[in-house]
Symmetry: C2
Subunit: 438 residues, 2 copies
C-alpha cells in the first residue's frame, strides 16, 4: 500500500467532529477504497480548550488555521470553518499557493469565490473539491460532473435546504403556523438562532448557483439567483395547496435558455413552489434534500438523501478525500474554469406557468371584485378561486383569498400585482408561489 | 487537447445505436468533460447489412467481433452484445489480454464472470467498467463506489427491473390482470417476446448481485440470490395491498449480517414486496428504476431514473468512457478482486418481518379454519385477514383469502405453509410477499 494521504482539518464543529469520527471509525474500509490510508496530521479551530469527544493530542495543533495550508506534513486541507470570506478564503488561497489540495463544505465560499479558487487550483494542478457544499451526503456533484457527464443538462432543480423542508413538512403534518414550527425547530437545534440564511433561501441559493455551474458549464453566478424564502407562508396556504393536490416545497431551479439572438442565458430561482402529489419531490419529507437533473440522453435523474448533519456531510468530505487519494484532480467545475461560459441572466418576463396567489384583504365588500378585475385587466386567467375564512393579523381581522391561475405568462401576474399595488383593500403584499411543471 | 480515446463498438442494437448517436450528438461536450475527444474507430455486429440510421462506412468493420479487442487503433472496447458467455465473454477476455479497457452493459456477464474479468483487468492494469449494467442511466455504481465510498453499507435494495415495474404500476392504475398487461407490454415492445428474464426476476437478480458486491466488498454471488418473479400476481393482490396502504413492487434486496460465530454472511433476495405508501419506492412508477443504499455515516441515499432505453443506457456507457479518458482505472468492484470477501450465504430462517399471504381455496366450508389453524400451530400471528370474492381459475370457481401477518419470523411462515402443503383445500401454492421494512 502506498504512502498515506495526510490531511489537515480546519474547523472542529459538528461537521469537523464527524470527519474525525468517520476517518477513525471506517479507517480500514477507507484505506481499501482509496488504495492508501487517509490520516489526519494537523488540526485547527477557534477554541483549543473545548472538549470535542476525541483525543486532540494525537494531531498537531495550529492556532492560526491559515498555517495549515503551508505545513510540510499536509497533502490536503479540509476547510470546515464556513463564511464566504475571512479565514476560510485566506486558508483556501494559501493552500493552493502551496500546491496542496482543498476539500470544503463551505457553500458560501464556493458560491462567491468558486471560479477564482478553481482557477488557482487548476494553475497549481491540484484538486479543489466541494461535494459536501451541496445537499450534504448526497453525491450530486459527482452525479452531475461524472455520472451524467455525457449529457447536456437543460434543467436542474430540487429541495436544497433541510431546515425549510423540515418546517414545511411539519406545517403540513400538524397544521401549525410557520412561526410556531420555526420556534420549535430552533429549540430542537434544527434551525439556527438567526434562521435567515435558511428560511430566506440564501443557503439554497448558494447551492443552486454551484449546481447550475456544474450542470451547464456556466460560471457560478450567485448574485444572479432570484430568491424568495418561506417566511410568509401560512398554515392556510399549506391547507389550500393540499386541497388542490399539492405540497409546498422550497425549490431551487436553474435552466438554460436561448434568447432571440441565439445567446444562451441562465435562469436561477429559489422560490416556494406547489409540487403535485405525483411528483417525486412531493414525498421528500423532513430535513431530506433531493436534486433532479434532466439530461438530453439520460432523461430525469433524481438524487435524494440527508442534506445536512455531521455523518452525511462527513461522508461527502471523505468521498472527496478518497477521490484525491486515488489521484483524481479533475476540473473543480467539470470543465476548466477558463472555459466556463459567462452566460447572461435570463429575462423572466417570457416565462410561463401556473401560479398560486394569496391575498390578505380587508373584510369588506368589493375586494374580491377588485382582485378579479386586476387579473382580468392583466390577462391572467383564473383556474380556481377560494375565499378562505377570517384570520387575525397584527390584531386586525383579515380575509384570505387564494387563487390558482391557468398556465400563462409570469409577466401577466406581475402586471396584475402592479395594478393592485397600493390598493387599500390589500392588508399586505400578495404571496405568489409557482407551480412546479412536471 | 490530448490524443482522442479510440473506441470499438461490439453490438449495434438499440443501445449500440444510442451510444453512436450520443457520441456524435454531444461530441463537443464530451471532449470538454473528458479532456479529449472520444471517437469510434471500429464496429461489429451480427448483421452488417441492416440499416441502423447512421453512416457505418465511417467506421472500420469487423465480421468477428472478438478481433475488435486486438486492433491497434482501439483503446477501449464497448461490449453491447449481451449474453453471459459466448462471444461477449470471448471478446472481454481478448480485450484484457491485449491490455485494453472494456466497458459493458452486459449484466449477465458481469453477474456470472465479473470477478474473473476484474482480476484480468487488474492484472493488465486497465479499466473494466459496467455502470450501464445496473439500473440503466442511473449512476448508482459510481454512487456506491465513489459517492458513498467512505461508508460501510449495510443494506442496498431497489426497483431494478423496468418491465416489471411498468407491469405492476399499470396493473395498479387500471385494475387489469397480469397476463393482460404483459400481453400489452409485449405488443408495445416494453417486454420481450420471451419475458422470463424480466418477469421471473433473473434480470433484477443479475443487477442485485453486482450491486451487493460493490456495496459490501463481497465477491459477486449471483447463484446466491433467492428469486421470485411477479408472474403469479393477481389484480386482486394489488387491490388488497392498496386497501391496506401499500403498493406492490419487485424489490431486489441485499444485506450483510453477522452470524453466531461472528462471520459475515450475505443475504440477497429478489421478491415482490408490499411497499408502504410513505416509502419513496412506492412512488416509482412505470419503467423507472430506483436504488436505496444505507451507509453508516451517510444514512439513506436514493438514486432514481430511467432503468433502460437507448438514451439512458448510452449515457451510462459514455460516462464510463469519460472516466477512462480522464485516466480513472480504479478497481472494477471498488476494491481489488483478490480482496473481495467470499462471504457465506445467510440463512433466511432467522429473518423477521411482516408478510402478505394469499391463498386460492376451494369454495367450501372449513378452508378458512384450516388456514387459521396452520397459522396458529406454526406460531404465525395474523394482523388482518380478508376473505375476498370468488374468482374463476382454470374453469373452476375459487375463493381468495389474503392475510397480513404481524412482525414475526419468516421461519414460522414457512412452517405454516409446510403444514398446509398438499391440503385439498388449496387450489394452488400460496403466494407470499414480504412487506418492506421502513
Amino acid at each position: 500500500m502506498s504512502e498515506p494521504l495526510r490531511i489537515a482539518l480546519a474547523g472542529l464543529g459538528t461537521v469537523g467532529g464527524g470527519v474525525v469520527r468517520l476517518i477513525e471509525t471506517n479507517a480500514e474500509l477507507i484505506a481499501r477504497r482509496a488504495g492508501r490510508p487517509i490520516v489526519i496530521t494537523a488540526i485547527s479551530a477557534r477554541n483549543r480548550g473545548k472538549n470535542r469527544g476525541f483525543d486532540m493530542a494525537r494531531y498537531a495543533w495550529e492556532d492560526d488555521m491559515v498555517i495549515l495550508g503551508e505545513r510540510e506534513d499536509v497533502d490536503v486541507v479540509v476547510e470546515l470553518v464556513g463564511g464566504a470570506d475571512g479565514p476560510a478564503l485566506a486558508l483556501a488561497r494559501t493552500t493552493f499557493e502551496a500546491g496542496k489540495a482543498l476539500v470544503t463544505a463551505n457553500k458560501a465560499m464556493v458560491a462567491n469565490h468558486g471560479i477564482e479558487l478553481a482557477s488557482r487550483a487548476e494553475a497549481a494542478k491540484t484538486a479543489f473539491k466541494f461535494e459536501a457544499a451541496v445537499a450534504g451526503g448526497i453525491p450530486v456533484i459527482k452525479g452531475l460532473k461524472e455520472g451524467a457527464a455525457a449529457n447536456y443538462i437543460h434543467r436542474v432543480y430540487g429541495i436544497l435546504n433541510g431546515t425549510c423542508n423540515y418546517i414545511l413538512s411539519t406545517m403540513e403534518d400538524t397544521g401549525r403556523d410557520f412561526a410556531d414550527v420555526l420556534a420549535e425547530a430552533q429549540a430542537k437545534g434544527f434551525a439556527e438562532a438567526d434562521p435567515s440564511f435558511d428560511i430566506d433561501g440564501i443557503d439554497a441559493a448558494h447551492k443552486l448557483a454551484i449546481l447550475s455551474s456544474i450542470a451547464f458549464g456556466t460560471a457560478v453566478d450567485f448574485p444572479g439567483v432570484t430568491i424568495t424564502g418561506i417566511r410568509r407562508l401560512l398554515a392556510a396556504d399549506i391547507a389550500q395547496a393540499d386541497a388542490l393536490g399539492y405540497y409546498i416545497r422550497l425549490i431551487g431551479m436553474a435552466e438554460t435558455e436561448v434568447d432571440a439572438e441565439g445567446k444562451r442565458r441562465l435562469f436561477q430561482r429559489v422560490h416556494p413552489h406547489l409540487v403535485h402529489r405525483d411528483h417525486p419531490l412531493a414525498h421528500v419529507d423532513g430535513a431530506t434534500n433531493a436534486v433532479v437533473a434532466e439530461g438530453n440522453f439520460v432523461g430525469r435523474l433524481l438524487f435524494q438523501g440527508a442534506g445536512a448533519g455531521d455523518g452525511p456531510t462527513a461522508s461527502a468530505v471523505v468521498a472527496d478525500l478518497i477521490d484525491i487519494a486515488r489521484g483524481d484532480i479533475g476540473a473543480p467545475f467539470s470543465i476548466p474554469a477558463a472555459e466556463l461560459d459567462m452566460a447572461a441572466r435570463a429575462d423572466t418576463g417570457h416565462r410561463t406557468g401556473k401560479a398560486y396567489l394569496r391575498f390578505t384583504v380587508a373584510d369588506r365588500p368589493g375586494t374580491l371584485a377588485e382582485i378579479a378585475a386586476a387579473m382580468r385587466d392583466a390577462g391572467v386567467s383564473i383556474e380556481s378561486l377560494i375565499q378562505k375564512g377570517r384570520v387575525e393579523i397584527d390584531g386586525e381581522e383579515r380575509v384570505l383569498v387564494a387563487l390558482v391561475t391557468h398556465h400563462g405568462p409570469e409577466s401577466a401576474i406581475a402586471k396584475a400585482l402592479d395594478l393592485l399595488e397600493g390598493s387599500p383593500s390589500l392588508a399586505e403584499a400578495p404571496l405568489v408561489m409557482h407551480i412546479l411543471e412536471e
